[in-house]
Symmetry: C2
Subunit: 608 residues, 2 copies
């Protein structure tokens, strides 16, 4: 029943050999991997102004030097990540780089924070986008959580259909967003150049401002840096690119960096020049759009594409999370199931896990995930710092051609990221402290899982020194509930196995019942030994287990195996299962997990 | 891990022989079986006034003749049900009576409406009680649903502990409620007699009222009759009484009827005399209490016990539902599991089913279950009518001593109940129409289940004409995922079974892997034939199923059985299961449900 629904939603299964066709061109890759970074333009500049307004509107000119700082950081990151892409062409980003150069635990810190971060990305961006939409249609506001969950489910289905298909769908809104913002910036600058905008709306750069402090400027810078989350996504997703993958990825990264720089500085400059103050109700981008176009068609296009890009930013998480999970799973730090490709060749378990986790986050925070943003930003800058540091170590260790230049780029990147990380801890400790709890917790879980896999591996390996003991014979126990075809069927099978002994076991709740059954049995199957057990607590499992234990104790002395044959009749339709006491399923589960006996299920399929 | 928690909550398991000690004395039975009926006093009189006030306060005097009508109905019901108790001393009430005298479908209509009704009882009374409590503590109001669910869970635990224990706990609040109301009525009447209360608060009986209509009076009467829900509970629960059960049950019923009559007419009279009008915010009982005592200690005691009794009214559902379910399950109309006694000898499946259903109702209606009351009342009067009619048929058919008197009592009861049922449909159709949907739906389900059980029975019965075909030999298939101890273990077992053929099957996802594995295998187990299958869609189940089908086709020609031996390693701790791809479980489930092969699981318990 579920099968056709699945086919309709995610399409026909693909052969393993069709993997090559699922690779991304640069234009498509840009669309699905940069939506997170580009969407930050919609809130990054605002974050800076929100900090500055705590002093006064006069302090707004500081947004220009702060933006320059953010651009320097962006440049350093793009250059550093280009180097990472070429050094690690199989992807994995911060996790692989940190693990290989700084050791396993650094890798796990980077990988763990990124895993959590991608979940936060999905929850935060979908909630923000939903908020933007329901602000336009207030009647929908009470259904925020539900709408956000529906968006997550839609993105999940899109990603389960496969990378290229989601790229084809998502490319339009992403490019439309870039285009409309470019038009906005262009028209805005034209207006300023032609003098349409009065030049007295802002305080000139350099105006002294009372009460400004280094702490405040650092806080504003850290807030602005949150616009850079998402730039690492491309380095994680190199395997998704068409060949030559690293080269295409590097070009895409550079192009994205350029776009991000243009949009970010354009918005910052316009908001400074227009003297725009952050407001609870209207976003900065929306204010700029209104100043520039008035409330006309263009204004609504910008509002619409902004809402859309916020939701699509979640897609970066969908692309990067499963690939990172594969790397962690291959190293046995998370369950192996994350390495399995689904019907459409995507790592569907990762996609589904991401979807469920982010839906849970949305529900728990009732769709109000804004205060997760700093947490999310710090979760990005920790792996940024670690991977850049890892690259520094790598260059020092390998000393390739031109290594001093490469080293200085990564060293600069590492330093800035390290400073930004600290700024978050210093200026927003009340919001980012959970990182200090969940990173150790995740590390602990990673190691527990790894230890388990290694313990299992060593126990399953066949070694010469412990050859398996051959089984000399078999005792078969058949629990019976009555005299029926199902039991007859199972006994027939037991007899065909030429076992050393067959014992039928009947559990009676009442004394009279016991005798009656024995008489009937002896008439029906005189050649099969029947043991009846009395259960005064109306449990079948307890007396049966006790009996199995006794038999097994004797059997093991003779190197005999004990097999419990469970007769099970299977109704024709699924719903009918609830009409039958599931004793056979319970008995099987109990014996299998707690005792060392072999369990055989003899099915009896009902025909009507 | 769950076991000690279960023991703590519901106590040690009881032996089947301890059943007798779980029987109820009359005082305890009254407490747990009449809480529903008695609690109706808290809202029944109010329901009458709510209808009358739609005309004017002058119409309030009609509450007196309406109350007399309700008392007549109550008397008829009590007398009729006494006769039912003696005629059907094994309980079952409306279901058994209707089925035996009017036919199976009438029985099912009665049984089905009562089943649904008990679920409604629990949801409605707990919600009402919670409302009463949170009205006193407005801060709790937003948590209404949660609090109601907690109360349902508490009642469930209490009932899982056993009938006598819940009776011991619940007796105090029930009797306290009765006592406080008796004091209230006593003091009120004393005040009236001594002239403390002015006699001009009410319009005299017989005052002409403009706009009064028969329709309205009928509606008020139907509303007042909702105070009589719950009187059938005792007749369902006769098996819970101490011997002589029918006699004790009849006495309890009569006593309850008396109490109900006194409380109901007392409240009605006081509210009439005090000229009390129904209000959104303050209940009628609460207004009477305030008039009588002022806002002192006694007032709050009455408020508190009223809230409590509303919640405890749910307990009637807990006592009657499982017993009714047993009767339906014995006749195979609902799943057999409802006939199983739990650890404490209660029918725990019925109790748990009732709890889950009513919690769902509370969640769906967000705790606002008031508008379910008419639905619930009509769901009571349909079985009332059917059972009385059934008794009439019985007396006519059997003509025992004194049958004319017996017949007239039941005939009167049937007639009044029939009229009340019609009144509900005529005056409150918009609220009671769902009955017309869910009763046919339930009947359909009942019959589907019955048909299934009968089909199963006939298929399982051993008949002479179709002797089972003996199995001539066995082919064993062992799916293998690698060369490990788990596989070795399974092969050892397969070899010990002296099968005609053992085939190991390996599913490869890549061509190179296939050859490599074959080479390794032939070195390791040269005597076991290996078949490798290629899976281009990365599914193990599909190619394996296909292969099993081919083998089975050949095997069946020679009357051979096909056994699939599934090696399964079992990690030491439960959480570790999620770390392993559950292929063995999936393969087993798929083959067992879809194919006619025997499935053997050979466990390999990991030691660390």
């Amino acid at each position: 029943m579920m099968y056709p629904v699945k086919r309709l939603l995610i399409g026909r299964p693909l052969k393993s050999t069709e993997l090559g066709e699922q690779k991304l061109s640069k234009t498509k890759a840009l669309a699905i991997l940069s939506s997170d970074a580009l969407s930050s333009v919609a809130y990054g500049p605002e974050q800076i102004l929100i900090v500055l307004i705590t002093i006064s509107a006069a302090a707004f000119w500081y947004s220009i030097p702060i933006a320059i700082g953010v651009l320097v950081l962006l440049t350093a990151l793009i250059l550093s990540y280009r180097q990472i892409i070429f050094a690690y062409p199989h992807g994995g980003g911060a996790y692989v780089v940190s693990k290989n150069n700084l050791g396993v635990n650094s890798g796990l810190i980077a990988g763990g924070s990124l895993l959590v971060d991608y979940i936060l990305t999905v929850a935060v961006s979908v909630s923000a986008g939903t908020d933007a939409i329901t602000s336009a249609f207030p009647a929908l506001h009470t259904h925020n959580v539900l709408i956000a969950i529906i968006f997550v489910i839609l993105l999940t289905i899109l990603n389960l259909r496969g990378v290229t298909e989601s790229a084809s769908v998502l490319a339009y809104p992403v490019y439309l967003f870039v285009l409309t913002l470019l038009i906005l910036i262009g028209v805005g600058l034209f207006n300023i150049a032609t003098g349409v905008v009065p030049s007295n709306l802002h305080t000139p750069i350099g105006t002294p401002v009372a009460g400004i402090s280094l702490f405040l400027l650092l806080k504003a810078f850290a807030s602005g840096s949150s616009a850079l989350t998402g730039v690492e996504a491309i380095s994680n997703a190199i395997p998704n690119f068409k060949e030559p993958a690293p080269k295409n990825a590097a070009k895409t990264l550079t192009f994205m960096g350029g776009l991000l720089a243009v949009l970010f500085s354009g918005i910052i400059f316009l908001s400074y020049y227009y003297g725009i103050a952050p407001s609870e109700k209207v976003t900065v981008v929306s204010q700029i759009a209104e100043e520039t176009f008035g409330r006309n068609f263009m204004y609504f296009i910008i509002q619409g594409t902004t809402a859309l890009i916020l939701i699509l930013a979640a897609n970066t998480g969908y692309t990067a999370f499963p690939l990172l999970a594969v790397n962690l799973a291959k190293d046995k730090f998370i369950p192996r199931m994350f390495t399995i490709r689904g019907d459409r060749l995507g790592y569907s378990n990762g996609i589904i896990f991401l979807a469920i986790s982010s839906i849970l986050l949305i529900i728990v925070f009732e769709g109000k995930t804004e205060h997760l943003i700093p947490l999310y930003a710090v979760g990005v800058f920790i792996p940024f710092t670690l991977s850049q540091t890892g690259m520094v170590v790598k260059w020092v260790r390998e000393k390739p051609k031109d290594w001093v230049r490469k080293l200085s780029i990564n060293a600069l990147g590492a330093l800035i990221c390290f400073i930004v990380t600290w700024m978050f801890f210093i200026t927003k400790f009340t919001q980012v402290w959970p990182v200090l709890v969940f990173i150790p917790a995740i590390m602990f879980i990673f190691h527990r899982i790894k230890n388990h896999y290694e313990a299992v591996g060593s126990q399953l390996r066949i070694t010469e020194d412990h050859p398996a003991v051959a089984i000399e014979g078999n005792v078969i126990i058949v629990p019976v509930a009555g005299i029926t075809r199902v039991v007859e069927n199972s006994l027939n099978y037991a007899k065909s196995l030429s076992a050393n002994q067959i014992i039928a076991v009947y559990v009676a709740f009442e004394r009279e019942d016991e005798k009656k059954f024995e008489e009937k049995w002896n008439k029906w199957q005189p050649d099969v030994r029947l043991v009846t057990l009395h259960s005064q607590y109306r449990s079948i499992i307890q007396p049966l287990t006790k009996f199995v234990d006794i038999v097994q104790h004797k059997a093991s002395e003779a190197n005999y195996g004990v097999t419990v044959i469970i007769p099970q009749f299977l109704p024709k339709k699924g719903w009918q299962h609830i009409l039958h006491n599931q004793s056979s399923i319970l008995i099987r589960a109990f014996l299998l997990f707690r005792r060392d006996v072999i369990i055989t299920t003899v099915p009896y399929h009902l025909k009507k």
